[in-house]
C-alpha cells in the first residue's frame, strides 16, 4: 500500500462523495457549482490514475462548458415561468 494507492483511494472516495453531493443538492443554481467541484475531483482522480490528457479535458468540460450550459438553461427556464 504505497502513497500512490492511498491517493487514488482517497480520490475515489472524494469522487463518490462528490457525486452524492450533486444528487443531494436540490437547488439547481447551487447544483451547477457543486457539479463544477465534482468535475474537479474527477479530474484529480484521472490525474492520479496517470491520465493527464483526460484530466485536462475533464477540467475544461466540467469547469467551463457544463456550468455554462446549466446556468443559461436555468436562466431561460426561470424567465419562461
Amino acid at each position: 500500500m504505497n502513497a500512490t494507492t492511498v491517493v487514488q483511494l482517497l480520490l475515489l472516495v472524494l469522487v463518490a462523495g462528490g457525486g452524492l453531493a450533486v444528487v443531494l443538492e436540490r437547488n439547481p443554481l447551487n447544483q451547477s457549482m457543486v457539479l463544477g467541484v465534482f468535475g474537479l475531483t474527477l479530474a484529480m482522480l484521472f490525474l492520479a490514475l496517470q491520465a493527464p490528457d483526460v484530466a485536462l479535458s475533464e477540467i475544461v468540460v466540467g469547469g467551463f462548458v457544463v456550468p455554462t450550459l446549466v446556468l443559461v438553461a436555468l436562466a431561460k427556464a426561470k424567465d419562461h415561468q
Binding site: 490528457d53 485536462l56 475544461v60 455554462t68
Partner: protein
Amino acid sequence: MTTRGRLTLFVLSAVGLTAVLVASLTGLPRFGSDAGRYGRLINRSAAVERHVPEAVGAVTFDYRGIDSFGEESILFAAVLAVALVLREQLDEDDLPYKLDEDPGAVTAGETTETVRLVGMTFLPLVVLLGLSVIGHGHLTPGGGFQGGVVLASGLALLYVAVDAATFRTALPDGALEPVEAFGLSAYAVIGLLGLVFGSAVMDNFLPFGHLGRLVGGGTIPLLSVAVGIEVAAGTLLVTAQFIDQLVRVMRSRSAR
C-alpha cells in the same frame, strides 16, 4: 405511476444492476495491472517512430488521426445545432450591441471593480495558457481540444469582466465562423495532403525533426493547432449564443 410503484421498480432494478455489476467487476483484471498490448506498443514506438514524446498526441493526431477529424466534426455540428436551436425567434427583437451603450441596459448592472480587475488580469494569462497547451500538443499532455477550450474560456472572461456588448463586438459571429470553418478544413486539407505527398490520407509526410523540440513530429503540431483553432472558435460561438440568451432574459426582466 405512484411513488410506491416507482420505488418498487427502482429497488428491483437496483438489485438486478448490483448483481450484474458485482459479477462483472470481479471478473476484471486487477487494478493497476497490465495496460494492454497496444499501450505497450505505443509506449515503445511512438517516440522512436514519430520523434514525439507525447504518445497520446501521436495516437490522436497520427496513428488514429481520422478519429480526431470525426470528433472535430462532431463539435462543429454541435455548434451548428446550438446556433440553430437558439436562433432569433419571431417574437424576439434584434439585439444591437453598441459599445457606448449604458452597461446597465444590457446586463443586470455594471460589473464591480474587483471582478473587472481580476478578470482583465487573468484574461491574458489564460489565453497564453491556452495557446501554450495547443502549441505543445506533441510535447506535453493536452493538445488541440483541451487548449482550444482553455483559450475560449480565457476570451470569454471578456464577458465576465466587462459586459456582453464588449464581448460580442470584440468577437463577432462574422469573425468566429470563418475561423472555425478554417480550423476544420485545415485538418481535412492536411489529411488530404498526406495522400498527395505521402502514401495515404492522414499520412505524416512532413519531416519529424528532433525529439522534444517545439517544431517536430511532422504534421502532429499542425493538426493540433488546427483542432485548437476550430475548438476555440466553436466554443466562443456557443458562448456567444448563450450570452445572447442571457441578455434577452435580463432585458425582459428589466422591462417588467
